[in-house]
Amino acid sequence: MPKTITVLHVDDDEDIRIIADLAFSLDPDFELVQCASGPEAIETAKDLRPDVLLLDMVMPNMDGEQTWARLKADSGMADTPTIFMSARAEKRFSDHLIKMGATAVIPKPFDPITLCSEIKSALKDSAALSQGRGSSVVNFAS
């Protein structure tokens, strides 16, 4: 991809944000913007127009899924590839998100060294599929 990919990362845990920041710093193709909550993300997204959404699932007040719904509606980001990060291991849960249109679900703990390449390959699959049909089916959870 010619320009850098702007990733909007939302997670209420500061330490995880630091880890993610270091992870993305390893790959020059990405540009990372981080928010600590759903409402903050909605505000930021209005002007930012990120290429990819990277959302934590479990957050107080507004969780990842709710944040996504609001982003799609308020900020017109219905078509933006969205990747969830979740500590919830259930396959059924991941399936549900994929069915709703998520590009991928990355389980926590994630590997910061491989995070960027994982995201890239998920986006590639998604782009390839969206040329043909609709949603992608990438699930890093076993």
């Binding site: 630091i18 993610a20 500590a87 291991a89 396959k91 926590k108 703990p109 590997d111 060294i113």
Partner: protein, 571 residues
């Protein structure tokens, strides 16, 4: 029976005759005297007109006559009365005789009568006896009556009866006796030894009344009183067509039936969620005598219940089913809550673990600067142990899920050859770490099972990693599939220290790690095999091991072949 005495009546008649004759004579005599006196009185009366002495004589004669007449009158009245009384007595004696013979006849018709000789052998039985016990007279004549008793000749009831008779006493009491068909009857019995005039025991007569119905009613009444108040639903239904025999108040309440309506229904009507096929497969072990009671958890309209079913014998020995329903809705909620707590905890722990693991990975990769060897080693240790914690969390959650039956199983057709090859590929890293080699053994080409690929992979991985942990360095671990008739067996064979067969039970228990035979403790959560067992159980399979101390262990799990009937026998 006793002879009615006729003599009293004839004696009485004799006396009466005498009395009649006497009285007649007295009356005749008296009449004569009166007549004579009357003529005397007439003469005297005529003469008395002329003489006071003759008047006195007249009065005296008159008095005598009056007294005589009165006496006669009394005599006549009392004689009449006596005659009437005798007549009444005679009549009543006749009635009495009639009545007794009528009663005797009635008793012969309605009572159950049998006679034995002093030795105890049956001499005679009446029709009622034949009907009650189901034997024809010809079948029992000459036999000892002990066959009526549950324990025969050694039956304590029979022995007590014989002893009582031998002591020349009457036996009276309740007996539980066996009919020809094996049914038990309860009878009220009076057994009388009979003696001749010299006091020799000549025969014994038993008279019985069938009180089985009464006893059943009493027993039913007691049980019904007990069951009525029970805070659990109770259903009693027959074994033939599951028709309801009894339901307690709670059961009637839930179904919304009256006691009468219930008797017209079957157990299948008790819930719209009732499944006859499932029910019949659940009660099969009862019918086959393999289990005394079967328990199953089910859902009905008002929540979750645990149903325990038994075969119950009624007092007359007929068997019926008895099901007791225990409300476990509260328990289920508690399990759910616990699971949510465990899931919540698991989640809470994963977040900090994400940061820890992420940091360690970044450190070790050199992405934030190089570490010297010692530092790198320490980071490795931290990383490995973080993985241990994560595995433990996963195991706990898996375990709780499976216990609460909340683990989801995605059943698909699994080709065992591909399955094993994938597993070996997946665990190659682990094998290298432990300096062992996973090798594919024999696997039939068409070996297929129905199962959850992911969960079964979890099982084989568990067995393979255990084998790797215990295997001597450089050794091979063979993974193979063999035909076991109606099941496929997946085996993982190592050349480790072995496991004593006495530890077989413990091995599959949760949080248990055995004392290794070679003394070296390996790291593990203690949950792996417990979870594997639960997963295999869920697939209606069987997991176990064979082992020789000092030579090695082969862990294996067996699964029904795809398309085979459900459930294979446990070892």
């Amino acid at each position: 029976m006793s002879k009615m005495s006729a003599p009293p009546i004839s004696k009485m008649q004799k006396n009466l005759l005498v009395k009649y004759v006497g009285v007649f004579a007295a009356i005749a005599g008296a009449t004569l005297i009166v007549t004579m006196e009357a003529s005397d009185i007439r003469a005297a009366f005529t003469m008395s007109k002329h003489s006071p002495l003759a008047m006195t004589e007249l009065v005296a004669e008159g008095a005598i006559l009056a007294a005589l007449a009165t006496g006669m009158a009394f005599l006549a009245i009392s004689l009449y009365r006596r005659t009437r009384q005798l007549e009444i007595e005679r009549q009543s004696a006749i009635n009495g005789k009639t009545r007794i013979s009528f009663q005797m006849d009635a008793m012969r018709r309605h009572t159950i009568i049998s006679e034995t000789n002093p030795e105890g052998r049956i001499q005679n039985v009446n029709e009622n006896w034949e009907n009650l016990f189901g034997y024809k007279k010809s079948e029992v004549i000459g036999r000892f009556a002990s066959f009526l008793f549950e324990d025969g000749i050694h039956d304590s009831g029979y022995i007590h009866l014989r002893e009582t008779i031998e002591c020349r006493h009457v036996f009276s009491g309740e007996q539980k006796l066996l009919t020809k068909s094996g049914k038990v009857v309860v009878v009220q019995t009076t057994t009388v030894p009979m003696f001749d005039s010299d006091g020799n025991h000549i025969r014994t007569v038993s008279m019985r009344t069938d009180i089985t119905a009464l006893k059943t009613a009493e027993s039913d009444h007691f049980m019904i009183a007990l069951l009525k108040e029970l805070p659990q639903e109770v259903y009693i239904y027959d074994m033939e067509n599951y028709k309801i025999v009894y339901m307690n108040d709670l059961a009637l309440g839930r179904c919304g039936w009256t006691s009468r309506e219930a008797k017209q229904r079957t157990i299948a009507d008790s819930s719209t969620l009732f499944d006859m096929a499932i029910f019949e497969s659940h009660i099969r072990p009862l019918l086959e005598g393999k289990e005394k009671a079967v328990t199953v958890r089910a859902k009905h309209e008002k929540g979750y219940v645990e149903i325990t079913t038994r075969i119950h014998r009624q007092p007359d020995n007929t068997p019926v089913f008895m099901s007791v329903l225990r409300d476990i809705t509260a328990e289920k909620l508690e399990e759910k809550r616990k699971l949510q707590t465990v899931a919540g905890l698991s989640h809470e722990l994963r977040s900090p673990l994400t940061s820890i693991k992420g940091s360690l990975r970044l450190l070790n990769s050199g992405a934030v600067g190089d570490l010297d060897a010692k530092a790198s080693r320490l980071v490795d240790i931290a990383d490995r142990n973080t993985d241990r914690m994560l595995t433990f969390l996963d195991d706990i959650l898996d375990f709780e899920k499976i216990v609460a039956q909340k683990m989801e199983f995605d059943l698909v057709s699994v080709n065992l050859r591909d399955f094993v090859n994938d597993a070996i590929e997946m665990n190659k890293g682990y094998a290298d770490e432990h300096d062992v080699h996973f090798v594919v053994g024999d696997i039939p080409e068409d070996a297929r099972v129905t199962g959850d690929n992911c969960r079964l992979t979890q099982v084989i991985t568990n067995l393979m990693t255990n084998a790797a942990k215990f295997s001597p360095l450089g050794e091979k671990i063979v993974v193979s599939v063999s035909d076991q008739g109606n099941a496929w067996r997946v085996s993982v064979a190592d050349k480790g220290p072995g496991i004593p067969l006495e530890s077989r039970e413990k091995v599959f228990q949760s949080f248990t790690q055995l004392e290794p035979v070679d003394g070296k403790v390996r790291k593990g959560t203690g949950l792996g095999l417990a979870i594997s067992k639960k997963i295999v159980d869920h697939h209606s399979g069987n997991i176990s091991f064979d082992s020789v101390i000092g030579e090695g262990t082969t862990f294996f799990f067996e699964l029904p072949k795809e398309g085979a009937g459900f459930a294979i026998a446990a070892e």
